[in-house]
């Protein structure tokens, strides 16, 4: 650039500092995200068992999972994607609304609010396996405290609709903290003057919440909505450990099938697994894009 530009450009100082800031992230992004993603897309166009050399097969993996109605893999994609969408639909609203209400409550600084802040945030720090083991014990048919106190014998993890209810409850409990922190920070930034002015005008707390609080933190809500949706599309640990995909595959999500095909106990069918992963990735992109467009337009 300097050579080609001659004197005129030489005066312009080459500024490295922005690159310095984004550099580490860029390197990690490339190594752990970009390269694996591109490699995964390449694999989806091949037949590969992780051992020999991948052989290019064009779109045949995609036609198999998208159009061959007799194929097991078509059925896996249909069931897996369907259950993944259900999971997103069931959990995302709760994962947005529950932390938002809690944040609004905590923002009024009730007594001991710091304690509750820690309490709500804590589950987010636990690993998925620890959380799922705890909940499988809580929901256990014969020894679980939940059945004991409700005085029922519900098989929470292996009959519907209880399996879905359990999954949603566990997920919301586990993920409250992340969004809660964002909302709390956002609410802290809303000027108190506006609330005071509204009080003088005689607005009640519900009106204040809908007319002031919500519009003031719309950007953050949009952010959490998109991030939460993406996170829930990638659901894996909860159904794997709690319901094992049952009863009768009704909670088998797509990532479970992807994992089984690529890294199952039989020979690897990595090509099909990768093609399913690409489809899942596309779904996430499309849904996120729709959310962005839909919520941005109202600005």
């Amino acid at each position: 650039m300097i050579n080609a530009g001659g004197k005129k450009y030489r005066k312009k100082r080459l500024n490295f500092s922005p690159y310095l800031y984004i550099g580490p992230h860029l390197i990690l992004f490339t190594i752990f995200f970009l390269i694996p993603t591109l490699y995964g897309i390449y694999i989806s166009f091949t037949n590969w068992d992780l051992i020999g050399n991948p052989e290019f097969v064009g779109f045949s993996n995609y036609t198999e999972i998208l159009f061959n109605k007799d194929s097991t893999f078509y059925e896996q994609l249909r069931v897996g994607l369907g259950n993944t969408f259900k999971f997103v639909l069931f959990t995302v609203p709760a994962c947005i609304i529950v932390p938002l209400l809690l944040a609004a409550g905590l923002n009024t600084k009730p007594r001991g609010f710091k304690f509750f802040q820690v309490l709500f945030y804590m589950p987010t720090l636990f690993s998925v396996s620890a959380v799922m083991i705890i909940f499988s014990m809580l929901f256990s048919v014969s020894f679980g405290p939940i059945n004991h106190y409700l005085n029922v014998e519900t098989n929470w993890l292996a009959t519907q609709p209880y399996a879905w209810i359990t999954l949603v409850v566990v997920t919301v409990w586990w993920t409250i903290g992340a969004n809660l922190i964002i909302y709390l920070a956002a609410l802290n930034g809303v000027s108190k003057d506006i609330y005071e002015a509204a009080s003088i005008d005689g607005a009640n707390s519900i009106q204040k919440f809908f007319r002031i609080t919500l519009p003031s933190i719309r950007a953050q809500i949009l952010y959490t909505l998109v991030i939460t949706t993406i996170a829930q599309f990638n659901v894996y640990g909860q159904p794997l450990m709690l319901t094992k995909g049952g009863p009768a595959s009704s909670t088998s999500v797509l990532l479970m099938y992807i994992q089984e095909n690529a890294f199952g106990s039989g020979n690897s069918i990595a090509g099909i697994g990768s093609a399913m992963a690409v489809i899942l990735g596309l779904c996430i992109m499309v849904v996120s894009a729709i959310q962005f467009i839909f919520l941005r337009q109202r600005d």
Partner: protein, 419 residues
């Protein structure tokens, strides 16, 4: 400006050091000259017993010391293709499950033992349990040497057996009819007849007793058969008639708290039962339909060598020395609840006191140990796991479930072979 450049370079330097640092440490492990890198899938309490064997062996001052590396089995199986493909950090000796060996041989990943055995005359068929030994012989070549044969048998509560089925063990075989009769009686006292635990070995044992197997010719899967249907119906009958535990009820807890008479489980489970105080348990063979054909589902951990061009002859000799040592010194392994495959163990009085020893001591029972040996066992296992629980607890129509399972295995095989 200069300051900025200096600081930028220092950051990049730190980062590079950090990144390359990770790389070198991980790839250099196990390449030490006088070391045999030994991978195994033992992370539980049995991992401790394996460590004990390795430590004792290393104390004998062998030329090549064993470096014991334990992985969770699913992690280990994921790592194997990567390291064998890259040629770096290939383990010298690995323990794999018997059912995986055909797959590895098929992909040309294993080094045969054929030329090595001449110098180790004791590593031979006569000195091992047949089920464990035979599986390592593929197309006339030996690809593995067994460490153990671990079976799925049945625990029973001695006090409850006395009360509800005093004569059931007279012929040493407990039949499903006897379980049913005992369960009918115990039901009134709120005692479960039989706890249904891991459904795959339970189903496969019954299926094989009825004459079925997961493959007809070693290639084609055979899941959708009348025998499979009969096996599932038998189990479903136990559930429907409340002889077995209810869906979702924890059979292990029921048995440990003295609320179940029979508890089919693996021989490796006894340590966990010993934790339950006041539980007076016994161990016998898996329940049978009739005493005429006895089947005990069995698997086996086997020593294999993944191909590695750089492995010297000397090192391979070191590997063989270790395998031969284990053949004679596998008592710690038996104490972990397993049955060693090497018959030398029968000379140990300590072993004979162990509850699982009866399976090996009796040559007739040795013959009942059935390893479900099939190149596509992994595919079949995945589908059986999805099928059995749902079918016997009435969440899946048996005919439909069998059809789906059969089709799924066929499709996976077909896609896998499309190359």
């Amino acid at each position: 400006m200069r300051k900025k450049v200096v600081s930028m370079f220092s950051v990049i330097l730190v980062l590079l050091v950090a990144l390359t640092g990770c790389g070198t440490t991980s790839s250099s492990s196990g390449t030490a000259k006088n070391e045999i890198l030994y991978w195994n899938p033992f992370v539980g309490p049995d991992g401790e017993n394996m460590k004990q064997i390795v430590n004792e062996y290393n104390k004998t001052n062998p030329k090549y010391k064993i470096k014991n590396v334990s992985y969770k089995d699913s992690d280990m199986y994921k790592k194997i293709p990567t390291v064998v493909n890259s040629g770096k950090g290939i383990p010298d000796l690995t323990i794999v499950h018997a059912e995986r060996i055909k797959q590895f041989v098929d992909n040309d990943l294993l080094t045969p033992y054929d030329n090595l055995l001449a110098n180790y005359p004791e590593i031979k068929s006569e000195n091992y349990v047949p089920a464990g030994w035979n599986i390592g012989d593929i197309n006339g070549s030996r690809y593995s040497v067994p460490l153990d044969v671990h079976s799925f048998v049945m625990y029973y509560n001695k006090d409850l057996l006395e009360k509800y089925a005093p004569n059931a063990l007279d012929d040493n075989v407990i039949t499903f009819d006897e379980i049913r009769a005992a369960g009918e009686k115990s039901k009134k006292d709120n005692i479960t007849g039989v706890g249904i635990t891991w459904t795959r070995p339970i189903f496969l044992s019954i299926y094989n007793q009825l004459g079925g197997d997961i493959t007809s010719d070693g290639e084609t899967p055979t899941l959708n058969t009348p025998e499979a249907k009969e096996a599932l119906q038998l189990l479903k009958g136990l559930v429907d008639d409340k002889i077995a535990n209810k869906d979702g009820e924890d059979p292990a807890q029921l048995f440990k708290s003295g609320k179940a008479i029979f508890y089919p489980e693996g021989i490796w489970m006894q340590n966990s039962l010993n934790e339950a105080k006041n539980l007076n348990w016994g161990l016998t063979i898996f329940p049978q339909i009739s005493p005429d054909k006895i089947v005990n589902w069995t698997s086996s951990h086997q020593f294999v060598m993944f191909n590695d061009k750089n492995r010297s002859e000397e090192k391979t000799k070191g590997i063989m020395d270790f395998i031969d040592y284990v053949r004679e010194n596998s008592l710690p392994w038996a104490q972990a609840g397993q049955n060693p495959a090497a018959l030398a163990i029968l000379e140990s009085p300590e072993y004979k006191k162990l509850p699982q020893a009866f399976l090996i001591e009796d040559p007739e029972l040795q013959k009942t140990l059935k390893i479900f040996d099939y190149k596509y066992n992994g595919f079949a296992a995945e589908e059986i796991d999805k099928l059995v629980g749902d079918a016997i607890y009435g969440k899946l129509d048996i005919d439909k479930g069998l059809k789906t399972a059969q089709k799924a295995v066929e499709d996976k095989i077909a896609t896998n072979n499309k190359k």
